[in-house]
């Protein structure tokens, strides 16, 4: 058996990222034959195999970054047992029946005994000829990170005794540290690896499940990354206001034809954009960013308007919204939305937003709890606008109403300030000056 380690590709290089495995587990390989590709800085390097044999185990997945000299794979002699790889496609190939007689006797529990662990890859079998140290029972080895194995080794801990909460019951660093803190050294009945604790995350895909796996589109991936990044960055808080649109509904009916003659649709969004721009002028911190210990007030108001696309979501930006009339704003968003749908947007038309409006109401939502588009500090969600029963001076009336929500970054904006901003928007809509359009 030979360990394959992340090579030191230069003096100042402490880690490398596996870009691609050229060989699969079970493949034969000659000494010096390219085995995997790594990437450090701007350099991609192809790493040859240190010895001939069979690739028995891959310990670092593609995309994983590991320290120099950590073991990324194991090469065994031809005919060596193949450890179960993490990839589910190959689970079947690594079923216990493949364990050759030359391997040391290893208790391999029948999968049927452990229905709760169906999501865990088939038991890994160490092909090592060395007997398990310390008289520990040779358990199917759980996949763990080099760090976790190192901690376990240093503290002479049997990893099988540590309940794992990671993917597929994997033992994470927190698990092992927590286990030791709770006096994990104390005797505990040695059992087969514990079933995942209730509520622990399980693998998204179970082997043999009736599923279709589809790769994420670039846009989907980008949205996913940004959303998680934003959630992690900002302390999101939401406020919801109810707004009476009856007045603007009337103005809209009256002026619609005027706008249409100029080729522009007069929508509720037109009014909301105008009201928002005025409110941002009144409460400028909503139009700012947080930069370390500084607040960056943006002098321009660049209004991002989320546009739903069949294939995702894009937020074109109306720059210098503060200089535009309601007609100008309406024309701008109409143009941007049309070009977004036909993929004609220029790069700088989706950049530099200072505040965003999103419109979950078009799909019928009463209101949304939107996530901020970084590095902005707030985002307004427009809920469904419809006729509702309302109480007006002790009488029941039919009014056109809808909810407006504001997601804001509590690191910078307190509730009072957010509500002040929202009051401005609400007031502007409810008392809209018909001459302002």
């Amino acid at each position: 058996m030979a360990d394959v380690v992340m090579p030191q590709m230069g003096e100042s290089i402490a880690e490398g990222t596996i870009v691609r495995w050229i060989k699969k587990v079970g493949d034969r390989i000659d000494r010096d034959e390219p085995l995997f590709e790594i990437s450090t800085d701007k350099v991609d390097a192809e790493i040859p195999s240190p010895s001939a044999g069979v690739l028995v185990e891959i310990r670092a997945k593609e995309g994983e970054t590991v320290p120099v000299n950590s073991v990324v794979a194991v090469i065994g002699e031809a005919g060596a047992a193949v450890a179960a790889p993490a990839m589910i496609e190959t689970v079947a190939a690594a079923a216990p029946s493949r364990v050759p007689s030359a391997a040391p006797p290893v208790p391999v529990p029948a999968p049927a005994d452990r229905p709760a662990r169906a999501a865990v890859p088939a038991p890994a079998v160490e092909a090592s000829a060395a007997p398990p140290a310390e008289g520990a029972v040779a358990l199917p080895r759980q996949r763990t990170s080099p760090l976790v194995r190192k901690i376990a080794k240093e503290h002479r801990l049997d990893l099988a005794r540590v309940p794992g909460t990671g993917l597929g019951g994997r033992v994470t660093k927190d698990d092992i540290l927590g286990f030791m803190e709770k006096g994990g050294q104390a005797a505990r009945p040695i059992a087969f690896p514990a079933a995942p604790t209730p509520g622990a995350p399980t693998a998204a895909v179970k082997p043999g499940g009736n599923v279709e796996v589809v790769a994420l589109s670039v846009m989907r991936k980008k949205i996913a990354e940004h959303m998680v990044f934003s959630r992690r960055t900002s302390a999101h808080v939401h406020s919801v206001f109810e707004v009476d649109y009856t007045r603007v509904a009337k103005i809209r009916e009256a002026r619609r034809a005027d706008y249409e003659r100029q080729g522009v649709k007069l929508t509720y969004m037109s009014f909301l954009m105008k009201a928002t721009v005025d409110a941002l002028k009144a409460v400028p911190i909503i139009n700012s960013s947080l930069d370390g210990d500084n607040i960056v007030y943006k002098k321009d108001i660049n209004l991002g308007i989320a546009v739903a696309l069949d294939w995702g979501l894009i937020v074109p930006v109306i720059t210098h919204a503060e200089d535009k009339s309601m007609l100008g704003l309406s024309r701008a968003i109409q143009d941007l939305a049309a070009r977004a749908r036909s993929k004609q947007l220029k790069p700088d038309e989706v950049q530099g937003g200072t505040f965003t409006i999103t419109n979950p109401g078009v799909f019928g939502a009463l209101f949304g709890m939107p996530i901020i588009s970084q590095p902005q500090v707030a985002i307004m969600g427009v809920g469904n606008i419809e006729k509702r029963v309302a109480v007006m001076e002790d009488a029941i009336a039919i009014r056109t109403k809808g909810y407006l929500s504001l997601g804001y970054d509590h690191r910078l904006i307190d509730g009072a300030v957010a509500d002040e901003f929202m009051s401005h928007v609400k007031k502007a809509i409810e008392n809209f000056d018909p001459h302002a359009i």
Binding site: M9, G10, P34, S39, A45, K221, Q344
Partner: protein, 216 residues
């Protein structure tokens, strides 16, 4: 003894042809059949992706239709680094050299390529420098030369791209190397005049030999 360097000035070469030529030369260099070689050339308009192609595709801002209209090709490559643009007026250098026995350090190699570009920029009176964490040669906050390298058994391929008379508007199609907040520049933009490519190539050959202790 100074090692010999064969310099081949190829003019304009299609990207795919360039990759194929490098592949062949790497095999020959690995087998010891040829000397260290430096290819100097220009590519027609092309966007190329590094090994993390999935990630770097996000840094293309233009739609496929627009790229097609502009006559810009797309290629995935085996080099390190993110997306970049090559086109007429940009000197592309592909060193096919063996780093054995004394230069087996990928960071050192990248720093050396940067050094060559910095020295060439200095020929025109510009003090280019390195930017911590960002590979390439920078004049102020703008990148004049980019680097993307592949190493197989310590034989190098791919290399550097240095903007001489490049039409920088093409960089607006992408987020160069995934770095969104910094621009690109060229000798032409810096000097305000077009510079003959062969003249700059001469400087590259001289400084490459000096930095890498080779003899052309």
């Amino acid at each position: 003894m100074t090692r010999r360097l064969v310099v081949r000035r190829l003019g304009v070469v299609g990207y795919a042809d360039g990759v194929e030529l490098q592949r062949a030369l790497v095999a020959q260099r690995t087998a010891g059949e040829i000397d260290d070689t430096l290819l100097l050339l220009q590519h027609p308009h092309v966007l190329t992706f590094g090994v993390k192609a999935g990630e770097s595709r996000q840094h293309v801002l233009a739609t496929p239709e627009r790229l097609a209209m502009l006559g810009v090709e797309l290629h995935e490559t085996g080099r390190g680094g993110d997306v970049t643009y090559h086109g007429p007026g940009q000197i592309v250098g592909y060193p096919i050299i063996s780093l054995k026995p004394d230069r087996c350090d990928v960071h050192l190699y990248v720093r050396d390529l940067e050094e060559v570009m910095i020295r060439v920029a200095a020929e025109y009176g510009f003090q280019a420098g390195r930017s911590p964490g960002l590979t390439g040669a920078w004049v102020g906050a703008e990148k004049i030369g980019a680097i993307g390298v592949r190493i197989q058994r310590w034989v190098t391929s791919h290399g550097f791209a240095f903007n001489v008379n490049t039409d920088l508007d093409f960089f607006r199609l992408i987020v160069p190397c995934g770095i969104s907040d910094r621009g690109v520049t060229s000798l032409r933009r810096l000097t305000g005049r077009a510079i003959p490519i062969p003249e700059v190539e001469d400087h590259f050959v001289r400084h490459f030999c000096a930095v890498f202790a080779r003899e052309s």
